[in-house]
């Protein structure tokens, strides 16, 4: 049976199954969620009001045997940026939805009676909508346990914690991974959108599905083998990421002078060695735990990990570079174990680790806490934010809003979203991605760090302006296409350097659907997605004036290279000439 659109209307607690419109047939993941958001949501709507929608879609290759194809895309209008938002995640949802034949799950409306929260259970040809007053005020692991008990250990779960219920802009949508830990649709306040629709959790049945079909199964298997080999033989995806995780980046970004430190005051952190991937791997070796953990079934990279305390007791998993940078370098906490405790707490509450860490870094300027005070950071999150006290609400509104409330000027956001773990002044290609991506400051949208710092896909000097706009554009186009396949973004590393990788990916798409895409078609797909997203933002009221870096970065030099942000507006706006 052909894939279907599952549509839930929370205004009258109803659902229906629809045929997939012809225009959407060839789309998946980000390509599909951004297309639906663009086609169905009034860009001027209030992101937390009845006219916003939330859309989930597995990637085109999700549910297949292709390695690393288990990313699920979530799209909506973002209450944080006021523009379009796409955020994709591992976990088990994408594979299960694809096997159920759910091309996309679209949730619209808001219940008239807002006194309770609901649980949506998606199974073959059905969505049950049940009030769950017993889950109100509970956090993510409690929801996971409850759902596993109600169904089974394989059930796919998407959930929000208390911050999402309170519609805080730092809240994310958390998803269960294959080992029962949490991953997240992290950025842009998607947890608040789910909370606004009074949805506490969504489960997807992992028993009633059928395996996906292939137009040419032999061709698929052959291409899949080449693709897997490319991932396993690449030094980054095959060696570096499994051994040290994404946190291997702390040292190299610090060495390059691009590790934002103490609210973007320096590109070097004295804490680097204490919090780096090498130290983390040493701790894991000494304490038990594991340096490898996949966020979704079929992952051959296994960049995640299980991290224990000194006594060998579990602290956290999915302990990523961005989070460790935000709390370790930007907020100055030198104790990796304390950062791990905060990571686990934020997983349970469902908080965007980047937005939260940058916000707390700015909170030092506001006099709310001191650099390095991990105890107080933990307390602010656990007591103030989770309980929605007035200061908790302020911090839970994100970096940009905290800056406004406290009259601060050095506020590191683009389109009101916190800038991630790479200094735009010292890694200029990444800065171009931050300002131009329709998502607000987002590193995954076009990871120029690869070519600016890591020598992947060639080398473009990070401290010079030359070539950066073109680099960021090419990477954003490629990322938009990859985000549509359901592939993990780390396939970009072999794709940038191994000529066998991308053709194998395209061969898999062709063998799955019986089509004949070329490399040019894939580039066109990525270009179109970016243009659709940009058009939504323009209608939502965002202009070129929003494609800008925070002003302080233009006049404040960043050590150690003593650089400023020196692109002219015309140079930045050239990005969109394609």
């Amino acid at each position: 049976m052909a894939d279907k659109i599952y549509r839930v209307n929370m205004s009258n607690l109803s659902f229906k199954i629809e045929d997939v419109p012809a225009d959407w047939m060839g789309l998946g993941g980000r390509g599909l969620t951004s297309t639906i958001v663009s086609a169905e949501i009034d860009p001027e709507c209030h992101a937390l009001g009845p006219n916003n929608k939330i859309v989930f879609a597995p990637g085109l290759l999700s549910g297949t045997s292709a390695a690393n194809s288990g990313r699920n895309s979530c799209g909506a209008k973002s209450p944080l940026t006021g523009g379009i938002k796409e955020s994709n995640v591992g976990g088990t949802v994408a594979g299960v939805m694809a096997k159920l034949g759910v091309k996309a799950l679209i949730i619209e409306g808001i219940p008239e009676d807002d006194s309770t929260f609901y649980h949506l259970h998606v199974s073959k040809n059905s969505v049950e909508i049940t009030a769950v007053p017993e889950l109100i005020g509970k956090d993510n692991y409690f929801v996971l346990d409850t759902m596993e008990e109600k169904y089974n250990k394989k059930v796919a779960v998407m959930t929000i914690g208390r911050p999402g219920e309170m519609k805080m802009l730092v809240s994310n949508i958390s998803v269960r991974d294959p080992k029962g830990k949490l991953r997240s649709h992290g950025r842009g306040g998607l947890g608040a959108v789910m909370g606004s629709k009074k949805i506490k959790c969504i489960t997807v049945d992992a028993q009633s599905y059928k395996e996906v079909s292939y137009a040419d199964s032999d061709k698929f298997k052959a291409a899949s083998k080449v693709f897997t080999k490319a991932l396993q033989e690449n030094p980054i995806s095959g060696e570096g990421l499994p051994a040290f995780g994404t946190n291997v980046l702390v040292n190299i970004i610090n060495e390059a002078g691009g590790l934002p430190t103490q609210n973007f005051r320096s590109g070097n952190s004295a804490n680097a060695e204490a919090i780096c991937g090498e130290t983390m791997a040493e701790n894991i070796q000494q304490r038990g735990g594991s340096t490898t953990h996949g966020c979704h079934a079929g992952c051959v990279i296994q960049c995640s990990q299980t991290y224990n305390d000194k006594d060998g007791n579990y602290l956290t998993s999915g302990f990523e570079y961005e989070m460790i940078w935000a709390f370790g370098a930007n907020l100055g906490i030198s104790d990796l174990d304390q950062i791990a405790k905060i990571d686990a707490l934020m997983d349970d509450l469902g908080l965007d680790a980047i937005e939260m860490g940058v916000c707390l870094g700015l909170a030092v300027d506001a006099g709310i806490l001191k650099y390095g005070d991990g105890e107080e950071a933990y307390r602010l999150i656990k007591e103030e934010i989770a309980n929605g006290t007035p200061i908790g609400r302020i911090l839970g509104s994100g970096t940009g809003n905290l800056g406004k409330i406290y009259g601060l000027v050095r506020v590191p956001v683009v389109k009101n979203q916190a800038i991630p773990a790479y200094e735009p002044r010292a890694i200029k290609g990444q800065g171009i991605t931050y300002v131009t991506t329709p998502m607000g400051a987002d590193h995954t949208a076009g990871y120029a760090v690869a070519t600016n710092i890591l020598n992947s896909g060639g080398f473009v000097d990070p401290l010079k302006k030359d070539g950066q706009v073109e680099l960021a554009r090419n990477l954003q186009i490629a990322s938009a296409a990859v985000d549509s396949t359901g592939m993990c973004i780390f396939v970009a590393f072999p794709a940038l350097d191994d000529p066998a990788c991308l053709p194998a990916l395209i061969d898999m798409l062709n063998a799955r659907f019986g089509i004949s895409l070329t490399g040019d078609d894939v580039v066109n797909l990525g270009s179109n997605i970016l243009k659709i997203e940009r058009a939504f933002n323009i209608k939502a009221g965002l202009t070129s004036a929003d494609d800008r870096i925070p002003e302080f970065m233009k006049y404040e030099t960043l050590p150690p290279h003593n650089v400023t942000w020196d692109f002219t507006n015309e140079e930045i706006d050239e990005f969109w000439n394609f």
Partner: protein
């Protein structure tokens, strides 16, 4: 003596195994990063050189080191 130069050598990721994290080392004038990589067995490491920085800037293996330079050697690493 002016014949020697002081170089800080930093190693990262797998290059640290059975070597060191950071050392101050003395080399003759004219030494290149390639010479140091040969000396430390990094040229033959199963993981080829990914990134070489001198004083926090990308450089080539043939660069002529100067007094006080900080050399950083990384295998191919990535994340995000």
């Amino acid at each position: 003596m002016n014949d020697n130069i002081n170089i800080t050598v930093k190693l990262f990721a797998q290059y640290r195994e059975n070597r060191f994290k950071v050392e101050q080392r003395i080399y003759p004038c004219g030494t290149t990063p390639k010479n140091i990589m040969d000396e430390l067995g990094i040229s033959e490491h199963k993981l080829p050189l990914g990134v070489l920085m001198i004083n926090s800037k990308h450089q080539k293996e043939e660069y002529i080191l100067k007094e006080g330079d900080i050399l950083a050697l990384f295998p191919k690493v990535g994340g995000g």
